[in-house]
């Protein structure tokens, strides 16, 4: 069965079509992508959809009360709300540097939560 999707890997937003293809090594045939990441995305989106999660954590002794954070890898889509619960538990203290690990391997997903800026 053919499935339409819009690639979210980058803001270009390619319109992809994916269908199962036994002849292909990957098991799927993807069209409409401008780069290889589009193909990977389409297959992953069908088999195990993942998203980069961005949010904030509480921070003390800084000029703002929230520090922006991100996961360094996509996390499974169905774990996003659980990850938010973990993120909400955290409070850090300034100074923080961009890239500092705020939560290591969040919920065993293999993704770390990193600070998005100095503060």
């Amino acid at each position: 069965m053919k499935k339409d999707m819009i690639c979210i890997v980058c803001p270009i937003g390619c319109h992809l079509e994916i269908e199962e293809d036994e002849k292909s090594l990957l098991g799927f045939k993807v069209t409409g992508n401008q780069c290889k990441r589009g193909q990977e995305y389409a297959i992953e989106e069908i088999t195990n959809p993942k998203r980069i999660l961005t949010s904030t954590v509480k921070i003390k002794n800084a000029h703002l009360s929230r520090l922006p954070v991100r996961t360094n890898k996509p996390v499974p889509k169905d774990k996003i709300f659980e990850c938010m619960k973990e993120i909400n538990k955290v409070e850090v203290t300034a100074p923080i540097r961009v890239g500092d690990v705020i939560i290591k391997n969040i919920l065993g997903t293999g993704a770390d939560v990193l600070a998005s800026r100095d503060m």
Partner: protein, 422 residues
């Protein structure tokens, strides 16, 4: 009186890139004036990812993208003043600004780069009827409250407008525990990037209602609900299609307007279509030595393009200071033809272009399978096939100047045509 070769107004992505490039082009005396309490501009509140695809070939969050430029700027020892508001600029490039520390400043500049960014369209500008309760926010204001100040703005939210900030906020509000009950878009197509429709709405089952708008706001003290109506092809609400949605918050993502109050003070000519200054290939406005870049010039979809454009402004401001920007009077005008809303730049002086000139534009509707044709006097200069064009995304056409040079062209037109080959 202070004196600088180049004064950059605004320390967001445009101002940062322009200042850095000006420095790299050999100008040491540069000052950035930033009204906020830190550099980085609106990127600081855009904590989502998606920045830097073209620039860094990776996906950064807004703060990460800003961070790279801020660090580069600081390493280059470029002067900047925070919490500083520019009150006035003049044609002869005198800048008046204030802050708490330095007081009232008069700064003489050889060149000025305008990088003030844009502001959001408001409920008032749309004249949405109804009461005037609390709980009506522009998406950017909500974003600042949530992402920087750490305050929630509502628990049951309706969003008007499918611009990118609105879509991003739909997801952000959902993640923070609010219920986003729907997004209405007056046009028949979404205002934001396709990937944001997918990952911000579709992922969280938030309905998108195209060709719909909010026709009434209800609630005496705080928003209690909104009436949403379907609109016809002229964007007029269709009577009888009203639907009431109970909510405590209305978020508006209904467009951005370049902020050109200062530009007007220096008598800089603006284009009514973009709301930004008319510029030439060097990003110079109609006032010699005053340059403009970023969202003050025209609203961009990707910050990467802002950076690219602003570098050009910085480089050319440096040339101007060094007397190396030429103006012999020979110009080629760019004319938006069928299907094109506007083109930046508006004027090309070939003597200032080395190899290529980049033209940025937006289309006026959704198009499928068309050709973008650059022509002059009915002679085609360049042709590009496009499977899909949407007004929410900027298009860029690069033209090799050799295709323009020595032909005595006075203008070039860009238009869309149906692609018969498909």
């Amino acid at each position: 009186m202070l004196s600088y070769d180049i004064v950059v107004i605004g320390g967001g992505p445009a101002g940062l890139a322009a200042a850095i490039q000006a420095k790299k082009s050999g100008i040491d005396s540069i000052l950035i004036l930033e009204r906020d309490r830190e550099l980085g501009g609106i990127l600081n509140q855009c904590i989502h990812n998606g920045f830097g695809i073209h620039e860094f070939k990776e996906e950064l969050t807004g703060p990460e993208y800003a961070d790279r430029f801020i660090k580069e700027l600081i390493n280059m020892n470029i002067d900047y003043k925070l919490n500083t508001m520019v009150l006035d600029i003049s044609k002869d490039k005198i800048v008046k600004a204030i802050n708490s520390k330095d007081g009232f400043m008069i700064i003489k500049a050889k060149a000025i780069i305008l990088a003030m960014g844009c502001r959001e369209r408001t409920r008032g500008a749309l004249a949405i009827p109804g009461t005037r309760p609390s709980g009506v926010f522009t998406a950017g204001t909500a974003q600042r409250f949530i992402n920087m100040e750490g305050y929630m703005i509502g628990k049951k939210v309706f969003i008007l407008g499918s611009g990118d900030i609105g879509l991003i906020m739909a997801r952000r509000l959902t993640l923070e525990g609010a219920q986003v009950i729907g997004v209405a878009e007056i046009m028949a197509y979404p205002g934001g990037l396709a990937r944001n429709i997918m990952q911000c709405l579709r992922d969280y089952d938030i309905p998108l209602m195209l060709s719909h708008t909010v026709t009434e706001i209800r609630g005496k003290d705080r928003v209690e609900g909104v009436v949403v109506s379907k609109v016809d092809e002229n964007r007029k609400p269709i009577p009888g299609t009203e639907k009431y949605f109970e909510c405590d918050t209305l978020l508006l993502s209904v467009g951005l307007i370049p902020e050109n109050e200062l530009s007007k003070k220096a008598d800089i000519e603006l284009n009514p279509v973009t709301g930004g200054p008319i510029v030439n290939e060097s990003m110079e406005t109609t006032v010699s030595g005053i340059f403009a870049c970023g969202n003050v010039l025209h609203v961009h979809d990707l910050v990467d393009y802002v950076t690219e454009e602003s570098r050009r402004a910085g480089e050319n401001a440096a040339k101007y200071v060094k007397g190396k920007l030429y103006d012999s009077g020979e110009i080629i005008k760019t004319i938006p033809g069928k299907g094109i809303r506007y083109i930046v730049p508006y004027i090309i002086r070939l003597e200032n272009v080395r190899d290529f000139v980049n033209l940025f534009m937006r289309v006026d509707d959704v198009y499928k399978d068309v050709k973008m044709i650059v022509s002059s006097n009915n002679i085609t200069i360049k042709e590009l096939k496009k499977r899909r064009l949407v007004p929410s995304e900027m298009e860029k056409i690069t033209i090799n100047v050799n295709q323009l040079r020595g032909k005595g062209l006075s203008d070039i037109t860009i238009r869309l045509e149906e692609d018969a080959d498909i």
